[in-house]
């Protein structure tokens, strides 16, 4: 029954997957409550440009994506806060242009035998020990930041204007939150891929939102659903021989469907 656990690649996949599931679910709470799911998707697609840039310059594509995504996330933040442009318009512009930039760069790279597919759709079973270290390190950093600034992030998510009036450094906290989103997106690419990472940022948190009446409970439930989606999805993909990233995302969606039904049912009785 537990035969998948015998393989080192499966162990790495599960460990990496659980961390990514936890990370996206927790950052996802802010993304969902602050209405930034489109930003998450925009940053995820921007990472394609970063990955391509890494290949072209001969540096680690994931680290290149970190730098690139940070720049894009802050770019979107600055344009929306300063420029008087709506957030979705700003994301729409960055979304397509960074993808186009990536496609352009890929065309310039000689040889052209890069495994782009694994970046677009994830290749969790191919996670190396090196990749896992990066996931662990970045994951620890992001979770530590959230733990330390839990109350501040809650305030700026709930009521940014009053947070600022009270004296909290609201703009700095907002940009920090954008940075955490960018980091989370990049370390999740290996697991579910660029195309699907935004689903992990939104779906478990949205499921938790259905059932939560306090912020702490939403955090805990979202984390639970995130980890559950990854573990169940990976095991299913192993036995059904399906694409792992897609199976994880569809598992998360199924959980969302169940929470929706549960809430409907509870409200009806």
């Amino acid at each position: 029954m537990m035969d998948f656990w015998q393989y080192a690649f499966m162990q790495r996949a599960l460990i990496g997957g659980v961390i990514v599931g936890l990370l996206t679910a927790i950052i996802g709470v802010y993304v969902v409550l602050k209405g930034m799911s489109f930003i998450g998707a925009g940053v995820a697609h921007a990472s394609f440009g970063g990955v391509a840039l890494g290949f072209l310059l001969g540096i680690d594509p994931l680290w290149a994506a970190v730098a690139f995504c940070l720049a894009v996330a802050w770019g979107i933040g600055t344009v929306t806060r300063r420029g008087g442009i709506k957030e979705d318009t700003a994301v729409g512009i960055f979304f397509a242009s960074t993808m186009a930039f990536g496609v352009l760069l890929i065309g310039l790279i000689q040889g052209y035998n890069i495994d782009l597919f694994s970046y677009l759709f994830g290749s969790i079973l191919a996670i190396t020990a090196e990749d896992l270290k990066m996931v662990l390190g970045v994951g620890f950093l992001v979770l530590l930041t959230v733990a330390l600034l839990y109350k501040e992030f809650l305030f700026i998510t709930f009521d940014p204007e009053t947070a600022r009036v009270s004296g909290l450094p609201e703009p700095a906290l907002y940009y920090l939150l954008l940075a955490l989103i960018a980091l989370t997106v990049v370390v999740s690419i290996k697991v579910v891929g660029i195309v699907l990472v935004s689903a992990l940022l939104v779906t478990p948190a949205a499921s938790a939102y259905q059932l939560s009446r306090s912020f702490g409970k939403m955090m805990a439930l979202s984390a639970f659903f995130g980890v559950l989606s990854v573990v169940v999805g990976l095991i299913l993909s192993y036995y059904l021989n399906t694409a792992s990233g897609a199976t994880v995302v569809l598992t998360a969606t199924a959980i969302f469907g169940l929470t929706l039904l549960w809430r409907r049912w509870r409200e009806a009785v």
Partner: protein
């Protein structure tokens, strides 16, 4: 009697969003311990005036002083300001308990990274007791009525233990009786020494509780004691000529005439 410096002072303040001027040459002085109402029609610039005082918008001309300092330079003095924003600015379906909302009022005092301690929990309890919402403490915000929610946000402002309390239309969408008890509560805070600045639509009722009224419609139309300020002329200037006023004693009641309706 020595003249204490005013808590809020605006000198020739003009504010614009883009090229549109929303406040034009406003002068306003709020002495310590006052209870002042800012009234005016929709879009008059009341919220903008409040946001200017709080340092959220920068005036294009003029000078703003709060506690004798420009809002940007308030530093720790910011914690002496309690702010109750206009209701539509927050997401009312946000999953958060009443107690947790009120605790937000303590965050800035606590400082970054630090968790609330015993003193903070006590301050939250006191603030909730003052506005009589202790029995709602563990309820989610989304379950509450409009009036209860307003009290939660008022409690959050009180939890900062402010010297200056600023409220933006705290009685919007709240029934008359609830509004009245809120005004009474605010007046009791004033009697304890707090300075209260409140934006309101409720021209007639509010004048019974406050000791000053500022009528705003892009300009500061009038400013002073309610019975002096709230004349037909002021109100007509502020609301345009479609308004008519009845007098009961010295408190005017406003009736807005629609189109060509007869008097």
């Amino acid at each position: 009697m020595s003249t204490a410096p005013p808590i809020i002072e605006l000198r020739h303040v003009s504010v614009a969003y883009g090229t549109v001027k929303v406040l034009d040459d406003v002068n306003l002085t709020v002495p310590e311990g006052a209870f002042l109402a800012i009234i005016g029609p929709n879009g008059a610039g009341k919220t903008t005036l409040v946001r200017t005082i709080l340092g959220l918008v920068k005036p294009i001309e003029g000078e703003v002083l709060v506690f004798g300092k420009p809002p940007k330079e308030l530093g720790p003095l910011r914690r002496e300001i309690g702010y109750v924003p206009q209701m539509h600015t927050v997401d009312l379906k946000f999953p958060v308990r009443v107690r947790d909302v009120v605790m937000m009022g303590r965050y800035a005092r606590l400082g970054l990274f630090r968790r609330p301690g015993k003193a903070d929990h006590e301050a939250v309890e006191r603030a909730m007791a003052k506005v009589d919402i202790q029995d709602l403490a563990d309820r989610p915000l989304s379950d509450l009525s409009g009036g209860q929610r307003q009290r939660v946000f008022l409690a959050r402002a009180l939890a900062t233990e402010p010297r200056l309390l600023i409220l933006d239309e705290p009685t919007a969408g709240v029934d008359a009786q609830t509004s009245t008890s809120l005004y009474e509560l605010l007046r009791s805070f004033q009697q304890e020494g707090m300075t209260v600045l409140m934006v309101s639509h409720d021209v007639g009722v509010v004048s019974q509780y406050v000791d000053g009224v500022a009528c705003v419609n892009r300009r500061l139309v009038a400013h002073g004691r309610p019975e002096v300020v709230l004349t037909d002329d002021t109100l007509a200037e502020m609301y345009g000529c479609q308004a008519m006023f009845f007098h009961h004693g010295h408190v005017p009641h406003m009736v807005v005439r629609a189109g060509e309706e007869k008097k």
